[in-house]
Amino acid sequence: MIITTQKPLDEILDFISPYANILIAGCDGCTQPPRGLREAKTLSQLLELGGKLRNKNFVFKTTTVAKQCDNYLAASILKPQINGAEAVLSLACGIGVQTLAEIFPELPIFPTQNTHFMGAEEREAGILEVRCDGCGDCLLAVTGGICPVARCSKGLLNGACGGSKQGKCELDSERDCAWNLIYERLKKQGKLGLLKEFRPPRDYQLSGWKVTV
C-alpha cells in the first residue's frame, strides 16, 4: 500500500482560505486506512469547525473515487460533481493529487496527505513500514523475500555491513538491519549459500520513469 499521513489542519486551512466552495475527494485505494467517504466527511467537519474559529464559512461537498490515480475513473466520477467547486482537496497520495490536477487544470487541487513510501502495516502495533522502493529489478527471490534496497538504510546489495549490531542498524538503533533479517530468513530456509553470491551494483536506469503496456 501507499503510506500517507494526514497534513496538519492548519496547513489545509491555509490552502483553502481564499475559497468558499470546496470539493473533498476521497480515495478508496491503497492507503491504510483508506481515506474514503468517512475521512472526506470527517475532514469536512474538522475544517468547518476550524473555519468558524477563523470567521470563515466553507461549503464542502464530499465524494470518493475508487482509485484517484486512475485518470479515466477519477474523471468519470468527479467531472459530474465538480460544478461550483472553486478548489479540490484530495485525500489521495501524491499520485492521485497529480491525476486530479491533470483532469481539472483550471482548478487548484490541494493535497491533504503527505506521501511517504510503499509499505505495509503492522496492524496490532499501528506501525507502517517501508517495503519497496520500486527499483525495477526485483531481488526478493534471492533475499528470502526481504528487500534490502528499501529496508537496508544504505540500500546495500551485498550486506550486512559492519554496522549491524544485535540485529539493528547503526544509523538507527530502532530499525531492524535488513541484512540480518535476510540472514535469519535464509538460514531458516537452508539457503545461506545465496549470501556467497556477489551481486553487482544495480542499474539505476531500470527503475525508469515510464513503462509502456
Binding site: 489542519l9 492548519d10 478508496d28 483508506p34 468517512r38 470527517t42 474538522l46 469547525l49 475508487a66 496492524r123
Partner: protein
Amino acid sequence: MSQQVTRDIVAVKQNEDYCSHCSICSSLCPYQALNKEAETGKIFLDIEKCQVCGLCYSTCPAKAIDTIYYDLDSLINYLGKAKQEFDSDTLVIMCKGSAPDFSGVEKLFGVSKFVPLIVPCVGRLPEEIYFNALLMGIEKISVLACDEDYCRYDRGSPVTGRKILALNLLLNQLGYGQEVINLKRHSLKVMVDANLCIACGNCVFYCPYSAAKLASPGGINFELSACRGCGLCVAMCPATALDLENWERERISMLISKLSPEMEPPKILVFRCQWAVFPPLNGGLSPNIRFIDLPCAARIDNFHILEAFLKGIDGVLIAACSEEDCKQEKVSGKAQHAIATLGKRLSQIGFQDRLYFCTVAPRYPEEFDRELDQFSQKIRAIRSKEG
C-alpha cells in the same frame, strides 16, 4: 480522577445478618465476585470484580443483597407512575442491550400501547416485580431479553428464561391463565450497505468476534450469529458502509439535532456506554446536559462528535467502561484510541479541551457524576474565557 473519594459508595452490598450461606448467588455470579469461604461457609463480595448485573439481587432467597440500581422499591414506584403516563395494561420489560424503538416493540409483540420498562439486563428483576405489576392491574407482561449468547452478563438472559417458565406455571396454577408473561429474545446487529463497501477489510481486523469475512472475489460478508453488536466496525469503516441496528448513524444524528436546541449553554452532550453508567428510572435532566446511550463506547463515531460541535454543543464527554470491565471483547480500548486520535486533530484547530473520554463503572455510582461535574466546570471555564 480522585478515586479514594468517589469509591466510598458502592452499588451492591451484602447484608451478612440475612445471609443463609445458600450459595445461590456465588453459583450464579458470572464474574466470580461472590465467593464462599471454605472454612466458615460465609459469602464474600469482591466489589472490584462485580459488574452490577443484579443477578444476585434478583435471585437471593434471603434478600441479603442490596443494590442501589433498579431495586424493588424504585421499580414499583416507576411502574405506578408509568402505568398512568402510558395508560395501558400491557407491560413490556426490555433489556437495554436489545431493546428496539417503540415501532420495533410493536413489530415484536404486536402491541402499540404499552408501559415500557427498560433496564440493563432483565436478569436483575426479582420475581416480585411481576407479581406487583399484576396487582397494579397489568394484564399482560411481555419480556424482551437478549439472545442467550448475546447477553452482556452471560447468565442474565438464560436465568430470566427459566425464571419466567416457573412464574408462568405458578401464575397458571393461581388461575391467571397460561403464558401471562410472554418472553421473546432479540439482538441488535450490524447491517452492511453493499453499495458503499469498498472491500478494504478494516472490519475483518476490528471485529473482536471474527464475524466479518472478506472473500476475494466476493466482498464482505458478516456471519450474523457471531456479531455481538458492539459497533466498532461501524465506527471504523472508512467507507461508512456499515450501520448498527437501532443505533443507525441517521438516528443518532437526528437525536443530536433534536437535543442541541433544547439545551441551555454550556451545552454538554454525554455519549455513554449503557453498561458503564446506569441512569435512574425517573431521572430529571439538567437543562445543559443531555445523554445519548450507546451499545458500547466502541460505537462512538468521530462523525457524531464533530457533528455535535457543529450543532452548537460546547463539550462532548464520552463515558466508557475500562478495558477490563468491557462487556464486549475489550473494545473500549480501541474506542479510547480512536478518540485520542481525533483529539490530536481537534488540538490543531483549538478544540482539544472540549472532548473528554473517561472510564467509569456502575459499581462506583459517584464516579461518573464526578467526571461529569469536573468536565462541566472545564467547559464552563472555556466558555467564560471566550466571553
